[in-house]
């Protein structure tokens, strides 16, 4: 019995519909992206030239901390969950997610978590100021009082992610249409399945970590306090045991998206489907045994250094396989360059650059010079911005016609791409040089020898920021004024989502489709 959405606010509050929830996740993450972006611009404005001009160093630290936390937990992760909500059921021919009520819950606790996190800005002592990696004892004994709210917010985000992940696993394993075997699933489904397992494995570790902090701060334990027999390095091991898989949580779904888009616009099937699946699984496995490469300078014994160096270098192999497969997919295709394709190609190139600088960072002796400098900042922004973020933007352009039934404006889309592409490289490329020249990260002021690179980066950041306002305009313009889209939307799009009408009806696949 098909019925439409409820009316008014209650549609959004009580909805259990995967499409509604997907949309809410996407809008929420966009809002967080803008807020995190404003924080980034405060940072870049202060760093425009040497000297302290705009903010106090303590507030600067609050900005770097919140920028990182908001972008990772508020923008990138919820955006991928939103895409999963929208697309997974349609890609596997399921009527909805397996656990729709939990789905509602995992979304609706998020705004509270971020409201709480942002409210710390207005508390006495200010917001968390210890970096998104919140190393103890700076984040425990020496933290502002708002740290307790930060801990609670992280707990809620973690609960949301775990519920979301359980839902995704349950959906993929139980709700596939007859005939949709595992090795027939689109790669986006595969990579999300693997990501969901990563989430279930590491979010509890993060929760344990912040709980230990809470105990240290309020209940007199000394997990991380050396004066009480605790161990500040233990904090880092636990953090990165969560943190490194977290990095792949933010990139595996991106691999899935790019593997959907490139074949469409190259008009040629994805090269090496099964090797893509195996590569994703091996990346996920390796992500559990490389964490201490973030800690080469803490003074680990040499055996530890060597192990983590070798393991980290190994990750280059499956990642390389992915890149080669995408290139081989493009090779001898018949390519066109619509906006999603432009973002995807930029993804392949710029993510590869980020991967190569990652390989340099893996070399432990060299890392002694790179560690905690702008070289690292450049590296992870190259994998996260043109990596995770570009894949999300590409996905929005790619599926927006399916969601709204309307086509976006191609000229505006391409303008968005080029402005973002230029802005991004102007922002982040010079950071490699600043870092190699010796500029540490997380500093509000610096010597004149870094001045030129910083000024260029700051100019780029504002260009990049402006391009995202255009993005918002394009999406709204599509929703309200876009031209009607066809059901298949793209000339060569493959997959179940393109067999339903555009816009996708409120309920799809109430009876399972037939898979050849």
């Amino acid at each position: 019995m098909a019925h439409g959405p409820a009316k008014g606010l209650s549609r959004w509050l009580f909805t259990t519909n995967h499409k509604d929830i997907g949309s809410m996740y996407l809008w929420f993450s966009f809002a967080m992206f803008i807020i995190g972006g404003i924080f980034a611009l405060v940072i870049r404005a202060e760093l425009f030239e040497p000297g302290m001009q705009i903010v106090d160093p303590n507030f600067f630290n609050q900005m770097t901390t919140l920028h990182g936390l908001i972008m990772v937990f508020g923008a990138i992760m919820p955006a991928f969950v939103g895409l999963a909500n929208w697309m997974l059921p349609m890609m596997i021919g399921a009527p909805d997610m397996a656990l729709p009520r939990m789905n509602n819950w995992s979304f609706w606790i998020l705004p509270f978590a971020f409201f709480m996190l942002l409210s710390t800005l207005f508390m006495p002592g200010g917001a968390p100021n210890f970096g998104w990696t919140f190393y103890a004892p700076l984040s425990t004994t020496y933290a502002p009082e708002s740290v307790t709210f930060f801990i609670f917010a992280v707990h809620i985000m973690g609960a949301s992610s775990i519920m979301g992940a359980i839902n995704i696993v349950a959906t993929i394993l139980n709700m596939r249409a007859p005939g949709m075997t595992l090795m027939k699933m689109p790669l986006f489904v595969w990579t999300w399945l693997i990501t969901a397992y990563l989430l279930i494995a590491v979010m509890p570790v993060l929760a344990g970590l912040v709980t230990m902090m809470l105990m240290d701060i309020h209940f007199g334990t000394s997990f991380f306090d050396a004066a009480g027999g605790g161990d500040p390095v233990l904090f880092q091991h636990i953090f990165w045991f969560f943190g490194h898989p977290e990095v792949y949580i933010m990139i595996l779904p991106a691999f899935g998206i790019i593997s959907a888009i490139i074949p469409t616009f190259a008009r040629k099937p994805l090269f090496g489907y099964s090797s893509m699946v195996y590569a994703s699984a091996s990346i996920a496995f390796l992500s559990f045994i490389v964490w201490a490469h973030h800690m080469f300078t803490v003074g680990m014994p040499i055996a530890g250094e060597l192990f983590f160096m070798y393991a980290t270098m190994l990750i280059a192999v499956p990642t390389g396989v992915k890149v080669f497969n995408w290139v081989a997919t493009m090779f001898r295709g018949a390519m066109t360059f619509e906006t999603p394709m432009l973002f995807s190609i930029a993804f392949v190139i710029l993510f590869t650059i980020g991967g190569l600088s990652g390989l340099m960072l893996a070399i432990a002796p060299a890392d002694f010079q790179y560690h905690d400098t702008y070289f690292v900042v450049a590296h992870f922004h190259y994998v996260l911005v043109p990596g995770a973020l570009f894949s999300i933007i590409a996905a929005v352009y790619y599926w927006l016609p399916k969601w709204t039934g309307r086509m976006y404006n191609e000229i505006l889309g391409k303008t968005h791409f080029w402005v973002a592409f230029v802005g991004l490289n102007v922002t982040f490329f010079p950071m490699h040089f600043a870092g190699l020249a010796g500029m540490p990260r997380r500093i509000p002021d610096y010597h004149m020898m870094f001045a030129d690179w910083n000024m260029i980066s700051s100019v780029g950041a504002f260009i990049f920021g402006a391009s995202q306002i255009l993005f918002l305009y394009i999406v709204l313009d599509t929703i309200f004024r876009g031209k009607k889209a066809t059901d298949r939307v793209w000339e060569n799009s493959e997959g179940l989502e393109w067999t339903v009408a555009s816009p996708a009806p409120y309920h799809t696949f109430s009876t399972p489709p037939e898979i050849k």
């Binding site: 030239e49 040497p50 302290m52 106090d56 160093p57 630290n61 190393y135 004892p137 700076l138 020496y142 050396a226 390095v233 190259a266 008009r267 040629k268 099937p269 090269f271 090496g272 489907y273 003074g299 040499i302 160096m309 280059a316 192999v317 390389g320 890149v323 080669f324 493009m330 001898r332 295709g333 018949a334 390519m335 360059f337 190609i345 392949v348 190139i349 590869t352 390989l359 340099m360 070399i363 002796p365 060299a366 002694f368 010079q369 560690h371 905690d372 400098t373 040089f433 190699l436 020249a437 010796g438 540490p440 990260r441 500093i443 010597h447 004149m448 870094f450 030129d452 000024m455 260029i456």
Partner: protein, 380 residues
């Protein structure tokens, strides 16, 4: 600022600049630091070599991968009327492009392992220096010399806040540099007193975290006399950007002379403890101590930072002297207020307490003598 903006513009016109003046260009390249320093120790040179080797591997890989991509983006576009091929699998290819990167990685791993083993060998050092990170300064203890001192950033606040032009070593200058002899294996034993810091001198290829409760090891043999500058590399709170490291490498004889002089200086300070000072002397000295040691948190005018660092106007500064001395000497556990008892001499503690009790309208009218501080510590 305008000047830099103009320079920026000049760079956008780089090709023209290139043709007009090779000389100016060479200067620009010198000014635009864009690569790792080669440094002055065997370790730093080895690291630099590894870095460049890795860099060229990455360039080579990029040229191949992006070259193929670019080729197909130009040749295999629908607008040229090509028809898409349909191949989508090749086990042979997959094996090739798994094996080749693996081989490259193994080739990279050998030299990296070799330098790491060398880098970890801190044995047979001739001099041991204990380096302790504090919020936000470094302390250097020469283990066998009965010599220790703090090293604070010496860049004036007026430069940071834009009232004065930047000096040539803006933010990278200190009152007392670490001094070591050249051509000598110096071992650094690195730790911290409060939060985690990281001691980094790029020219030595040394970066090691300073962690409370741990003592990390590193070492350097500096081959050229000179002054080398670095910074704290691990976020350590508000003034993380303002705790630079300066190391002066001296020829061996000059180093010995420096040691003598330094020891004599510390002896003189110890003797001051027995002297009695005039109020004015204490007050003036106290202002300097306050600016250098306390103002980062309590601000130069004693107003503090609301919610984190208390103001010193009123409060303990107008209460009993013992309480005031107590918090300065012993700190307040679990807060950013450290124990200054070991960090400051008796004279300096007496001076700063005297100053704080009489500045900013506190007007207590009393003063504290170094001997009072000494006695307080004894009875403590």
């Amino acid at each position: 600022m305008l000047k830099r903006a103009r320079r920026l513009w000049a760079w956008l016109l780089a090709p023209a600049v290139l043709m007009t003046s090779y000389q100016a260009m060479a200067e620009e390249v010198e000014r635009w630091k864009f690569n790792m320093v080669e440094g002055v120790t065997p370790v730093s040179r080895e690291i630099y070599g590894l870095h460049m080797q890795m860099f060229w591997w990455c360039v080579a890989i990029s040229v191949v991968v992006f070259g193929i991509m670019l080729y197909s983006m130009i040749m295999h576009r629908k607008s040229r009327g090509v028809k898409a091929a349909n191949f989508h699998e090749s086990t042979a290819l997959e094996i090739v492009w798994t094996a080749i990167p693996l081989a490259i990685l193994i080739a990279m791993a050998f030299p990296a392992t070799k330098s790491l083993i060398n880098l970890y060998d801190a044995s047979e050092a001739e001099i041991d220096v204990v380096i302790t990170g504090y919020q936000w300064r470094w302390r250097y203890d020469y283990l066998d010399e009965d010599l220790s001192f703090f090293s604070n950033m010496s860049t004036p606040r007026d430069q940071i806040e834009g009232f004065e032009p930047f000096g040539p070593h803006y933010l990278l200058e200190v009152d007392e540099p670490l001094v070591i002899p050249v051509d000598t294996k110096v071992r650094f034993l690195i730790t911290a007193a409060d939060v985690i810091h990281s001691w980094w001198v790029p020219a030595f290829g040394v970066k090691k975290d300073a962690i409370p409760g741990f003592i990390n090891e590193s070492w350097a043999i500096v081959e050229e006399p000179g002054i080398y500058r670095g910074q704290c590399a691990e976020l350590c709170g508000r003034d993380h950007a303002f705790m630079p490291i300066v190391v002066e490498a001296l020829p061996k004889e000059e180093y010995q002379a420096w040691l003598q002089e330094k020891r004599a200086e510390q002896e003189a300070v110890r003797q001051l403890t027995e002297q009695t000072f005039e109020f004015e002397e204490l007050y003036d000295r106290g202002r300097q101590v306050h600016t250098q040691w306390c103002a980062a948190c309590h601000r130069p005018d004693g107003t503090g930072v609301s919610g984190i660092f208390p103001a010193l106007i009123g409060g303990m500064a107008v209460g009993p002297v013992e309480d005031h001395l107590n918090i300065v000497v012993n700190g307040s556990r679990g807060t950013a207020m450290q124990a200054f008892g070991d960090q400051l001499s008796e004279v300096d503690i007496a001076a700063v307490v005297t100053y704080q009790r009489n500045a900013w309208g506190n007007n207590m009218g009393d003063s504290v003598q170094p001997i009072d501080v000494f006695n307080f510590k004894q009875n403590d």
